[in-house]
């Protein structure tokens, strides 16, 4: 039954995707003859390989930036007595609430042609010193800095889960704290860091927002933007081309994820989680701790502070002209007034809330049941696990294309509706729900269920009365997390929404394309303040119940 639901949700998009890439598509949308033409075009043209090279450079660069900054931050927070280190988590919480597209826009405003940085450079060194952010380094930097909150959170959990006794043993052998940190802590964490590096690489590889907003304007193509352009290009959509692109991207990601799984499986052997009475060693820095404090403050400004300040500033302007002395005399709340009034802004906010809430509400109980069956090795559980985590291999833009085909070809008029976006989101975030629920189920002692069965309760009753209540904390956490992810996604709903079903993230994307920067900023700030509340709830639930999700 569950397997059937999953198959209905997951199989058609995949099949359509492969089909359009190997059959010609007629004008009416039906399939024609079998052909390998699209792949041939792909591999003979220069476009594909230049895009692939671009993607690789961009992904490696941003992964290295993200890991480097995130690790430094995590080490300072977890392993030193730096004053004010607890505030870093606040930064991470706020970042979780900022849609990636908004973040990218904020950085473009800061680094853009008429932005404050270029303004300073211009007045100091003259016109030749002005930088162009619409370039490879611009993309890499923005994407890399955008991933810092994620790498920080993951690295600090890696650091927190290494057993202190390994370090104590090194200290007892005569190693000084720094030496211990270098030879034991970091070495033991190395497989975890490598796995994380690869994870960020994959995420950057399939990312869409930065390449679309920065790369396209600077004529730098990567795989995801190629798919987008051939799906939503001017004139007739080139189904076959985007299908072939999508299948290639899919295969690359499958390969990378396989590698990642092997690597992180290996990393787990190194990680020894003790649980009981564990307290990590803290390095006493002495005076140096004010330096680290300053580093943290600087990073906070870089990752969260500056972009938000820039957005607030822009949202208070009647029109955007960069940061000039005159602009400070022009502050107005007009943008917010327009936003609060009736109109498409209000609709898109409510649409987005509905989207997030329904996606989470469907995914969370569903994955709880699947994960329970999988973790307890019920019949069919293994298969459920495999199918429900399968969407992980599909980059969002590929999934968007795949669902586009399905909805266009469906006899039911689903295309352009909010329901279609909810369906696609549910599939997309199913694996995240599975991870949460699986970790949650594994924390439940098996005897708690056996005690229910031996009390005379059948499996269904046991699940409802024992497993679900015990899972509730991790389910709440999973609900909030999926909500946050679903409402931020741009690439997934981008090709699916139509008039009347605007989504905040997509609206922000469109506003940028139309140059309505001040409206964008005010809407972004409003949305971020809403989402920070959600992400603070998420953080509280997670901390309180110590939910682990890998």
């Amino acid at each position: 039954m569950l397997i059937l639901v999953l198959l209905i949700l997951i199989l058609p998009p995949t099949l359509f995707l492969i089909k359009v890439s190997i059959f010609t598509t007629k004008a009416d949308g039906s399939f024609g003859d079998f052909t390998l033409r699209y792949y041939q075009q792909l591999f003979t043209g220069r476009f594909f390989f230049s895009a692939l090279t671009n993607t690789a450079i961009y992904a490696i660069g941003s992964a290295v930036i993200a890991i480097l900054l995130g690790t430094i931050q995590a080490i300072i927070v977890e392993r030193t007595d730096t004053p004010g280190r607890g505030w870093v988590f606040l930064g991470a919480i706020i970042s979780l609430g900022i849609p990636h597209v908004l973040y990218t826009v904020a950085w473009l405003l800061i680094l853009g042609r008429s932005g404050p940085l270029n303004g300073l450079l211009l007045s100091a060194f003259g016109p030749q010193s002005v930088i162009n952010v619409y370039s490879m380094w611009g993309m890499t930097l923005i994407e890399g800095v955008g991933f810092v909150p994620l790498t920080f959170l993951l690295m600090s959990s890696v650091l927190r889960s290494t057993d202190a006794s390994f370090e104590e043993a090194a200290m007892m052998s005569g190693a000084r704290p720094i030496k211990t940190f270098w030879t034991i802590t970091l070495r033991m964490g190395l497989p975890g860091i490598m796995a994380l590096l690869l994870l960020v690489f994959i995420r950057a590889f399939e990312s869409f927002e930065v390449p679309a907003l920065v790369g396209l304007a600077g004529n730098i193509n990567v795989l995801t933007t190629n798919i987008y352009q051939s799906s939503k290009g001017t004139g007739a959509m080139d189904y076959g081309q985007s299908g072939a692109y999508s299948v290639c991207l899919l295969l690359i990601v499958v390969g990378l994820l396989y590698w990642y799984n092997r690597l992180s499986g290996h990393a787990h052997q190194y990680q020894t989680i003790t649980g009981k009475g564990y307290r990590p060693r803290v390095i006493k820095l002495g005076r140096l701790r004010y330096v680290t404090s300053a580093i943290l403050a600087l990073m906070f400004m870089l990752v969260t502070g500056l972009p938000l300040i820039m957005l607030v500033f822009t949202s208070l302007q009647p029109f955007y002209e960069g940061v000039t002395p005159e602009s400070f005399s022009r502050f107005t709340l007009d943008n917010y007034r327009i936003l609060m009034g009736p109109g498409s802004f209000r609709d898109s906010i409510s649409n987005t809330l509905i989207l997030g809430a329904s996606t989470s509400t469907f995914v969370v109980p569903f994955t709880a049941l699947c994960a329970w069956m999988a973790a307890r090795r019920k019949p069919g559980g293994w298969l459920l696990d495999q199918i429900a985590t399968a969407p992980l291999v599909m980059p969002a833009i590929v999934m968007s294309v795949a669902f586009l085909y399905v909805f266009v070809n469906l006899p039911i008029p689903l295309y352009g509706t909010l329901l279609s976006v909810i369906l696609a989101s549910s599939v997309r975030f199913m694996p995240y729900g599975m991870r949460y629920a699986y970790a949650g189920v594994l924390q439940i002692h098996k005897e708690l269920e056996e005690a229910s069965m031996s009390s005379g309760a059948k499996q269904g009753n046991t699940f409802l009365r024992i497993v679900l209540p015990l899972l509730s904390a991790s389910m709440v956490s999973s609900w909030l997390f999926i909500f946050l992810l679903a409402v931020q996604a741009v690439s997934l709903p981008l090709l699916l929404v139509g008039p009347g079903t605007e989504i905040v993230a997509v609206t922000l994307f469109d506003l940028w394309q139309n140059g309505q920067v001040t409206e964008l900023a005010s809407m972004g700030i409003t949305w971020v303040s809403l989402m920070v509340v959600v992400s603070a709830c998420f953080h509280m639930v997670t901390r309180r119940y110590q939910i682990m999700a890998s």
């Binding site: 708690l448 005690a451 059948k458």
Partner: protein, 368 residues
């Protein structure tokens, strides 16, 4: 009441020989009895218990509860665990943290499909059972506020509330500290006999098994090696394993000189001399035989007069004072060691030469 016949459950290792599990275990438990499965970890006692509970599916064999086959390997018949009328106390207690004390104990009645309990009936049954385990005054507390001993009592109350035909206890005392363990042991025994419920108790602690059981089944490597009342198991071990596992013992090897009748005595030619032993079973002359004697059964004498049968001379190498008893380590002439427990006031010190007498009644022959 409960009959287990030829129970087999193998766990296959990744490669090679099967590991753990049970091989051809049979026994019968009488109505109202407290029956203990005793053995070291990995001996199959928990597998046996879980098979009876229905938590494991055996490979073959038959389990009959009150005349009803709850598992029959030949007929491929298996009653699911929730339809077996069995209560169980788990090693971790498995108290549900999201329910109150009362709700934990009421759960088996709430999920019952055979009988629908009225609210008053349910109330009085749960209160009765909580009262019996001394938790009635905590009934509205959250289950997470209970101490280890209280959780243990609650688990017992929950197992008993629907008056099961059989009660299974899986190492119920192993998570408690030593003092509480002794107290709960007495409590368990009291509740079990008051309630009169047939009980199977699993433990690796031989002292616990001795203290609590009507009958004990000793298991080793998936097989049942000896079954009987605690005194028999202790006094008349049938194998080196049982003799070594239950309490401390001295073991010597030798050959049987003349055939012995079951329950009779005969001389064993051993590496510490000719020793007259008690033979629980009939044995042929010339057979290799071991014999065991408990440290407290050896009688220490000063050397005087003629050396009689079953007395060996040696030197005391150490004396450890333990309060009500002292433990003597003795180097026998001929190079073997003997452990003796005797009253501390006997005046024997380390370095003394003594004569150790092994009473033939207490020197038990076993076959290795």
């Amino acid at each position: 009441m409960l009959r287990v016949q030829n129970l087999v459950k193998k766990y296959q290792a990744q490669v090679g020989e099967p590991v753990g599990g049970v091989f051809d275990v049979s026994f019968e438990v009488k109505q109202g009895e407290l029956f203990t499965l005793l053995g070291p970890s990995g001996c199959g006692k928990t597998t046996t218990l879980r098979s009876i509970a229905g938590l494991e599916t055996p490979d073959s064999g038959q389990i009959t509860l009150a005349g009803q086959a709850i598992f029959d390997g030949a007929a491929e018949q298996m009653i699911p665990m929730y339809d077996r009328d069995i209560g169980m106390v788990f090693q971790s207690y498995a108290i549900w943290p999201h329910m109150s004390v009362f709700e934990n104990a009421a759960y088996p009645l709430r999920v019952s499909r055979k009988v629908k309990y009225s609210r008053e009936d349910l109330q009085s049954r749960v209160e009765h059972v909580l009262n019996m385990v001394g938790l009635l005054k905590y009934k509205n507390r959250s289950a997470t506020q209970l101490s280890g001993g209280q959780q243990q009592r609650l688990a017992l109350a929950r197992a008993l509330v629907r008056e099961p035909k059989l009660l299974l206890l899986d190492e119920p005392l192993s998570n408690l500290d030593a003092q509480l363990r002794e107290q709960m042991r007495a409590e368990l025994k009291r509740i079990q006999s008051e309630w009169g419920v047939t009980t199977i108790y699993v433990t690796h602690d031989q002292a616990e098994a001795m203290a609590i059981s009507d009958r004990v089944a000793v298991m080793d490597q998936g097989k049942l090696v000896q079954l009987g009342p605690p005194d028999d198991i202790y006094e008349l071990p049938r194998s080196e394993f049982v003799a070594g596992f239950i309490g401390r013992t001295n073991l010597f090897k030798g050959t049987l000189k003349t055939s012995a009748a079951a329950g009779g005595k005969s001389i064993v030619e051993s590496n510490i001399g000719s020793i007259e032993c008690h033979f629980p079973t009939q044995s042929q002359a010339g057979q290799p035989v071991s014999f065991v004697i408990r440290p407290e059964n050896v009688i220490l004498q000063t050397i005087s007069g003629v050396q009689e049968q079953n007395a060996i001379e040696g030197r005391v190498t150490s004396r450890i004072y333990l309060g009500e008893i002292a433990e003597f380590a003795i180097d026998l002439d001929g190079g073997h060691q003997l452990l003796v427990r005797a009253p501390p006031g006997n005046g024997i010190k380390a370095g003394d030469r003594i004569r150790a007498y092994l009473p033939p009644d207490k020197t038990i022959a076993i076959f290795s």
